[in-house]
């Protein structure tokens, strides 16, 4: 009898252990939108800053403090990530059924197609929606799980890209005008290399290779998609672009060593230290330049293409997306977004990082108050953008980050074929 009891107890204990482990995921599904109940919402966002002073957690921290004072029942928890692991962090969180309520910084189409996002119109006020810059807001529209086109990505910040060069090095090398074509870049880079510096900074490492790739392929009439909207990553123009880069910049040693493994931020810092002659940058490079030793010895100009400068600058929009995994957080999420997208916070962000706004009132204000940003803001409507409303853009851009660096050391066609295969795969 005693034995039986022991046996039963052991069996019970074992089954308890098993059931305890299998039931750990069932919380958080109940729905109630009682706004008086205290809730904690989470926000996953990248750090736009380059030091402790301009760390983005200060920016969000100020908004959160003000927001929590106004809405005492809502707590906002910020999770910050670096740019190079932001996408991985989100993917891992989603795979573990632990989505943040709000995510800022990445693509949205892929998750929207899976039905994981709220429509913007379901959470934020009509005023907030109509205040978004129309052209940019359009980029946030994609098909949801229901097959209907709707606004899923809420633009938070935008930027355009420009070409930067070190005027002091240009002077020493006897270069008088900014390069207009690829050939100019190669010639100037060789002159700068003769000074013992790096001619051109080419960041094809995992951090933001998709931007550098786009800038160069645009210069040859290529890009990620063709005119009809079909993926065209392994197009002859794109292959030719990488062949040109390999033969004219990388092989002659006019770039930093091994561009396929070098990240943007590191090279920007090196440019700010005066070690690189030319580099493609965004307004986000400006704060890094202020910290570097380059002083005011730099200038920006339109990005050179194969035969002339790019007529359409590359525009980049970072979106906010709201995950629907906690229905009881819905009201709070909307309240927070309406609050955070106010003019004063948009402007504060743009003045802090020299980036561009996503809302009309902030754009109008900034055009007047910050003349340095005005040309960039004016260029927004004509910019070329990533195909971010395509659900395959997220996996495709990840593949670009993973392997495009090899396109300048091995057969570019093989590399681009692989990326094209990911972009056109049905998921």
């Amino acid at each position: 009898m005693k034995r039986l009891a022991t046996l039963a107890a052991t069996g019970l204990a074992a089954s308890l252990v098993l059931s305890a482990c299998s039931s750990s995921k069932s919380s958080g599904g109940s729905s109630s939108s009682d706004s008086s109940k205290p809730v904690t919402i989470t926000l996953l966002a990248p750090n736009y800053g380059s030091g402790t002073a301009d760390d983005s957690k200060n920016y969000w921290g100020d908004i959160i403090t003000a927001f929590e004072a106004k809405y005492p029942n809502v707590k906002v928890q910020l999770q910050e990530a670096t740019w190079d692991n932001l996408a991985t962090k989100l993917t891992t969180a989603l795979q573990n059924n632990d989505a943040p309520d709000l995510f800022e910084g990445g693509g949205y189409a892929d998750v929207a197609a899976q039905g994981l996002l709220y429509k913007a119109s379901d959470i934020v006020s009509p005023q907030t929606l109509s205040n978004l810059i129309p052209h940019v807001a359009q980029l946030g529209q994609t098909k949801g799980q229901d097959g209907q086109q709707a606004q899923y990505g809420i633009p938070f910040t935008t930027s355009t890209r420009a070409f930067f060069y070190n005027t002091q090095l240009f002077q020493q090398a006897g270069i008088t005008t900014a390069p207009q074509t690829w050939a100019d870049i190669a010639t100037d880079a060789a002159k700068i290399k003769a000074l013992g510096k790096t001619g051109f900074g080419l960041p094809l490492g995992s951090e933001e290779a998709q931007a550098e790739t786009y800038l160069w392929t645009l210069g040859n009439g290529g890009g990620y998609k063709d005119a009809s909207g079909k993926w065209d990553i392994n197009s002859p123009q794109n292959i030719e672009t990488f062949q040109w880069l390999t033969n004219n910049l990388v092989k002659p040693g006019l770039t930093e060593p091994d561009p396929g493994t070098k990240d943007r931020t590191d090279l920007w810092k090196d440019f700010a230290a005066g070690n690189i002659g030319m580099i493609n940058g965004s307004p986000a490079l400006l704060p890094i330049l202020k910290e570097g030793t380059i002083g005011s010895n730099f200038k920006s100009s339109p990005i050179p293409g194969k035969t002339g400068t790019l007529s359409t600058p590359l525009g980049v929009a970072d979106f906010i997306e709201a995950f629907n995994s906690h229905p009881d957080h819905k009201t709070a999420i909307g309240e927070f977004l309406d609050f955070a997208l106010q003019k004063q916070y948009q402007e504060k962000f743009d003045n802090l990082y020299d980036l561009l706004p996503a809302t009309q009132d902030a754009a109008a204000d900034l055009s007047a108050s910050n003349p340095a940003l005005k040309p960039f803001i004016d260029a927004l409507p004509t910019a070329a953008w990533y195909p971010s409303s395509d659900p395959n853009w997220d996996p495709a851009s990840q593949k670009v980050k993973d392997i495009v660096g090899k396109a300048v050391t091995s057969d570019p066609k093989g590399v681009l074929d692989q990326i094209q295969a990911v972009a056109t795969a049905s998921n």
């Binding site: 046996l7 052991t10 998750v111 090899k406």
Partner: protein, 312 residues
Amino acid sequence: MTTRSERGRLGRPRPARARSVLSGLAPLAWIGPAIALIAFAVLWPVVKMVQSSTTHWSRYGVNLGSNGTDNYNKLFKEQDLSGVLERTGIWVVVVVTCTVVISLGVAQLFNQKFPGRTIARWALIAPWAASVMMTAIIFKWMLYPGYGFINIILNDLGLVDRNSTTADWLGHSGSGFMWEMAVAIFVSIPFTSYTVIAGLQTVPAEVYEAAKVDGASKARTYFSVTLPLLRPALLVATVINVMNVFNSFPIIWEMTKGGPGYDTATTTVFMWILKGQNIGESAALSMVNFALIIVIVFAFLKVSKWNSEADA
């Protein structure tokens, strides 16, 4: 004891038989927790792994139903896979071999009596005690072109110009992978050395005396007496190292993230990269890894006749 007395009364009618079955299960009360633990910590994950590898997952972990062997087909069509497998083989063989050989020497040294031996033995623990990830990051910084510590030393010795492309060790797949293997060896040596030291201490002094009396040379004594007697310790050290090194992730991830492209990725790193793109395919690779490590370990144990008593 109980079992035996019950068995004696086997011919009895039903109630007794029921009791005998029950008492036959009695040992379960003792081994039950262990079985439950194994079932929970070993078998259940394996079942889950097989399931995941035959399931179609969305990129964000939504289960879209079974898809048979699709994930495996996709995995074997992956054009980087053969390179990754080849590299994993090199990684395991080179790292484990170098670790064991170096550790044999280190253990011999640390088994001698010399002043400061205790401190030296403590110091040997350092690479083991430090987080592998931190060690990898520190090495990455030391190898930084231009002003990395290792590059400055090599530069001052006149071996490598610290601003040259050669100095960008982690930028090329060849030299990057070499340095990663070096770091893997560096962090594996302490454990292996300690296992060997423990083995050395079990070798009785008499056998050395006998060898001396027979006039054996130092080298002969080492290869004919010490090494054979070290076999059990070496076996343990090697098997554990093979598994550890095969599954090693942080060194490669921190130093090169498997890049450029996937040119420094081993199967474990590649599995992680795939997980961001296709969970099912990644699960299929983890099954392949699982099978590989089982085959490797069994083959190794078979070859080394681990359970034979005689050391002939």
